[in-house]
Symmetry: C2
Subunit: 709 residues, 2 copies
């Protein structure tokens, strides 16, 4: 970007403002958007919150691969406004009712020189703005190729940001807290190794990006309804403090292939002077289309355990043998090789997890490594890597499902694709049919490694199309999808609620391998969770990995009490108790919280929040009067005095508090917790302290605590 050109553009805009600017404000009047064309016919927008500018005049435009880009020479043919107010009920969620209330501004533009049309649609909410580019069906632009989207987000100062490096292939970075001007110098350290990664800029970051101004305003930039388009990153001009959109390219360097009528995803800017509003916002869900699945009765939140952590921590393996450096699915005969004896997905181990799940009221048992192909699945750019059909010799597909079903448990399917997406699509129908046949209703899918077709990236239009294709095909089979390594969510779970989870960020698995900073879980709800639930896999009770696997020196940067709190702070309809059975058994008193906690909610109240510091949230379990409270804190710890005024007045409750014990610390004393019970009511307040890297969890049951959901 040429800096001089930007400067002169700003001058022009300022001059044009009085003559041409159109505005729209939020229902409460706090958020105002102003849109104008500069003298070159380039559209700019500007955002204000409570009278203060929060987005300086920022360019809008789409660069095409062909000539006559949609960047300038526009005239405004028409502007119109409207209001929308609707309350809808999600299939699952943080609240029973979600209000979608906005004022809209539609700016219809034409490039008079060649009869091309582009509209800008803004929806202004009390907690922010969503806007998108729309391309009506038109004679002179039926199809086009996007070379780049040039949407600017011009910052008003050197804000504090909680950011991860922009990357076409991984979102699994640890967060960095810094000023905008510090991003460049911190980038190198921020780019930690990953199985597939393509960072693109020294100042490139991902969305959702959480910012805080010197004046204490919280700003969040993300996108909503990412459909048939490539994922947006933000590239910072750290002299001018302007973020510009940077899309994910395909193998030819193009960003998107468009057919009118069509539109971009929504670009979202949330804003508030209270961080809790950012967490409570439903702006991104509201910008997505209503549910497209007619009968949703088969979509159910899931609490699960699994044969998984033992592979993550290195004690066991997904693979079956060491004798096969080169597996050919359909040719390799596994009955003729010697097992290495550390295959986690064996009948005995799976039955043990089924027993445990049934005993403690879980819904499902995830089993990874059940199907052949794990001996050479990674980093080989192997096309036919899995068939998603054939179990290992020691995994009795029918017998284990029958065993589970007899105990009221379902197995959770696992489809690691190794990012070989053509192969996955070729086997998808048969794989889903197999799931239907054996009674699976949910699948954890994975996209580890570089994408096949080669040259495509995890977050490009090609792959975004693939992820959604799988979700739609799964819906036909009444299958819920939890896709790992897929693109970060953008609220599509409203439209396709069988998308019950995603990874799309640095999950708990990193605690067993590289570690994450103690403040990690105080940021994720501000960023990653804005677009939809995360399969974060909390519930680790044994923080020292060497106790699972003597050769693993890693440590989980969390107290045990915080691990409980995450079931509340990390909202998801899909929650795993991720640790091994052996690690729960010494702490069944604490494990009780995991058994008790709900996975679907009628209401959520964010009690305290500061990104990178602490989050305290209370949620009311679906269809009950029971509440659960969670607090997660950074390495600084956190002391709260929380008021229980969300409880029904006049009713009596029993609160069970799972707190860090005195002296608890994420690093050297993580398992020190205390459990206490007390009677509470709507007038109670509780003073609680989270240790460094700690937290607390509270169950609040009306009358006697129910032992099972």
């Amino acid at each position: 970007m040429n800096t001089k050109k930007i400067l002169s553009a700003f001058v022009a805009v300022t001059m044009a403002l009085t003559a041409m600017a159109v505005e729209q404000q939020s229902p409460d009047g706090n958020v105002v958007v102003r849109v104008e064309l500069n003298s070159q016919g380039t559209p700019f927008y500007q955002v204000f919150y409570k009278g203060a500018e929060i987005i300086r005049p920022s360019r809008l435009g789409i660069e095409l691969a062909e000539e006559n880009s949609l960047m300038d020479a526009f005239r405004i043919n028409k502007t119109s406004t409207s209001t929308f107010d609707e309350t809808w009920q999600p299939v699952w969620g943080e609240q029973r009712d979600i209000r979608n209330h906005y004022n809209e501004l539609l700016v219809e533009m034409e490039k008079a020189s060649n009869g091309r049309f582009m509209n800008l649609r803004f929806r202004v909410y009390d907690d922010g703005v969503g806007f998108r580019y729309e391309f009506p069906l038109q004679k002179f632009l039926p199809y086009f190729v996007v070379k780049e989207e040039h949407t600017e987000f011009a910052m008003t100062g050197d804000h504090t940001a909680w950011w991860i490096p922009g990357d076409y292939d991984t979102q699994e970075y640890d967060y960095t807290e810094s000023r905008l001007t510090e991003i460049r110098s911190l980038m190198r350290d921020a780019i930690s190794p990953n199985a597939s990664q393509t960072p693109f800029s020294e100042t490139g970051v991902q969305t959702a990006l959480q910012l805080k101004t010197a004046d204490g305003l919280y700003i969040n930039i993300h996108e909503a309804a990412l459909v048939d388009y490539s994922c947006m990153h933000l590239n910072l001009d750290d002299e001018k403090l302007v973020f510009t959109s940077h899309l994910t390219p395909d193998a030819k360097g193009n960003m998107a292939y468009m057919q009118t009528p069509c539109q971009t995803p929504w670009r979202t800017i949330m804003v508030s002077d209270d961080a809790r509003d950012i967490l409570a916002s439903n702006l991104i869900l509201n910008l997505n289309e209503p549910c497209k699945i007619e009968d949703t009765s088969w979509i159910k939140p899931v609490k699960y355990v699994g044969v998984w952590w033992e592979m993550i921590n290195g004690r066991n393996e997904w693979s079956y043998t060491n004798e096969l450096p080169s597996v050919k699915i359909g040719e390799t005969d596994y009955t003729k090789v010697k097992p290495h004896g550390r295959h986690g997905a064996n009948n005995e181990n799976v039955r043990r997890y089924i027993d445990f799940a049934a005993q403690h009221g879980f819904d499902q048992v995830l089993v990874e490594g059940w199907n052949i192909g794990w001996e050479d699945w990674f980093a080989k750019s192997k096309d036919y890597v899995f068939d998603f059909q054939t179990p290992y010799p020691d995994f009795d597909l029918k017998g284990l499902n029958d065993y589970a079903h007899a105990k009221g448990i379902r197995l959770m399917m696992h489809h690691e694709t190794s990012a070989s997406t053509r192969n996955y699509e070729r086997h998808l129908e048969a794989a889903y049919q197999l799931m239907n046949r054996y009674g699976y209703n949910s699948v954890k899918s994975g996209y580890v490694g570089n994408i096949i077709p080669r040259g495509e990236h995890h977050y490009g239009q090609w792959m975004n199309n693939h992820y959604l294709y799988c979700i739609k095909e799964a819906a036909k089979h009444h299958i819920m999808v939890n896709a790992h390594e897929a693109v970060r969510p953008t609220g599509l779970c409203r439209t396709w609620p069988n998308l019950i989870g995603n990874e799309a960020a640095r999950g708990t698995e990193y605690e067993a391998t590289n570690g994450s900073k103690p403040f990690h879980t105080t940021i994720l709800p501000f960023t990653r969770l804005q677009g939809g639930p995360m399969d974060y896999t909390p519930g680790i009770f044994e923080m020292d990995m060497w106790k699972n696997n003597p050769s693993n020196p890693n440590h989980v940067n969390s107290t045990l009490a915080r691990q409980l709190a995450l079931y509340v702070t990390m909202y998801s309809p899909l929650q795993m108790a991720a640790d091994e059975i052996e690690n729960y058994e010494p702490h069944m008193d604490a494990f009780q919280f995991i058994k008790d906690v709900a996975v679907d909610w009628d209401d959520s109240r964010y009690l305290e929040a500061e990104p990178g510091r602490y989050i305290v949230v209370a949620r009311k379990a679906k269809g009950t009067n029971n509440w659960f409270v969670g607090c997660t804190a950074s390495e600084h710890g956190h002391t709260s005095t929380i008021k229980l005024n969300f409880l029904d007045p006049g009713k009596k409750y029993v609160a069970t508090v799972y707190a860090d014990a005195k002296g608890a610390h994420y690093k050297d004393n993580p398992q020190a917790y205390v459990i206490s019970k007390r009677e509470v009511n709507s007038k109670s307040s509780l003073k609680l302290t989270a240790a460094p890297g700690g937290g607390y969890a509270i169950s609040i049951f009306e009358n006697t605590p129910a032992r099972h959901r």
Copy 2:
């Protein structure tokens, strides 16, 4: 390539020859292969025919994307020889019995420095050589990425070549006849425009490449069994006269992704001092694997007509309306648009072709443009371009199939993919199921335009994998495949005989648009047809396109008599009578040959042949004593005296000769033909003259000619 290095390598080889060379010869001793390592441990091979060198010492080697390429530092661990002699029966073909008789040489090599193994396997036939690289399962090379294959074919002189430009995306070029040293100067003119094309070199050509030496030797270079690898081109060093293999790259510039155990396709060199031997050779079929389809009873040769030429010549359209610049499958409502009235695949027209097919003994009627999506199918890089399911409003899918079946006719399915291959694979199963449901047993598929996924090419490993996937999936549904714009065939029809045809060269359609040189059909059997049958679509009776469509000025460069001959000279189990019904009606006497001619054979005898000049072949219809003879000639015409000594001695036959009339000429008098009948026997000889761009066809029936096959 560094010329000096090559020179010094040759010196080294010469020195090493006495010490290290190993040889193998053909069963008749005429063809000899010599293999040796030079002092750098680089393998070279050399080929002799009847004592004369025909391939000078030529390097062999595979360059890897990683280090330690398989190019040098080899030692030979073991050499071994064997002999093979087997006669097999193709499901359909030019002969009932095919003899596969060769002597083999296996050279097992090791790169001692790093324990990598590569073998060279040579099969030496009386009519040429096939060799390939083999990569055994090995510890230090379980997977590798091919950066380039460096197989040389060092010519012994400045041969005459019949060549088309090397290209990753099209094979539909007109042939050029020139000396090797003239290729560079002729390349620019040879690269005519195509819907998708990627030429790569000023001296790059395609295989099969037909060559002729100054000494009158015919040499042909191609490949066999192209499976899970990218297609080979030849790049000429026109100073040293050395061809080097150049593979088709993927989006990342890599050529192939390999998993041991594996091998390359066979590289083939046919040689003879008689051009007829090149045409009669079964070397490429023999180098392919035996048939993998157990029950082949459903695979039947097909003679067909179709709703097609009227679109090719521009009189009618595949599309239905002019009102849809942007079609969205599943959303666009075709019942609400105005038809343009030139949609060829309408009920009335299709019924007319069904009637015609039934009346004249054809098997099938191809209908293109039956399914929605043709309004914007091309050049839009449109992902969801067709669904292969939904007919246009004026095409009664069930009714027309019922109508056809009642008359003993089947419709032929058409699947144009617009090269959007993910979309095709997503719909493949449903599309094949639809074919089964309505009684289709064959599909013409097409890959016009640039490949999606973008960055892949028509002839790369990715697409070759796709083509074979479709063939295998089709076989499960008992469907025969005729893929257009797919990679040139390499004999895979032996293994998968439901691959009954391909285009993969410049077909008759070009005669209606750009024209082809008059000698075109005297070259194709030497080149394109080496790998398998071509859906050439002969049988054009009206050469002036303006008579079909006043705005089309093109002319077919052939006489009518030659159009008949092509049913014999262009061997295929799939033969179309491609012209419009209206153009056959004035010439039903000549049309009788098309009705009579067989599409499957017990024997074939190449009577005369010279590439670029003429081909005369006699074939014996399967399970009968009837013979058909065809002659195609260049612009120079051709006069033959052919002996009918292939007929059964002592039996009487009636020969019907369809010949160019006196004064016939491809350009200004193409429809001048004479039909004559005479009694013949095994002692008869016939003197016949083909006009410039002409030919002749003969049916020879034992006793009375059968009017229907």
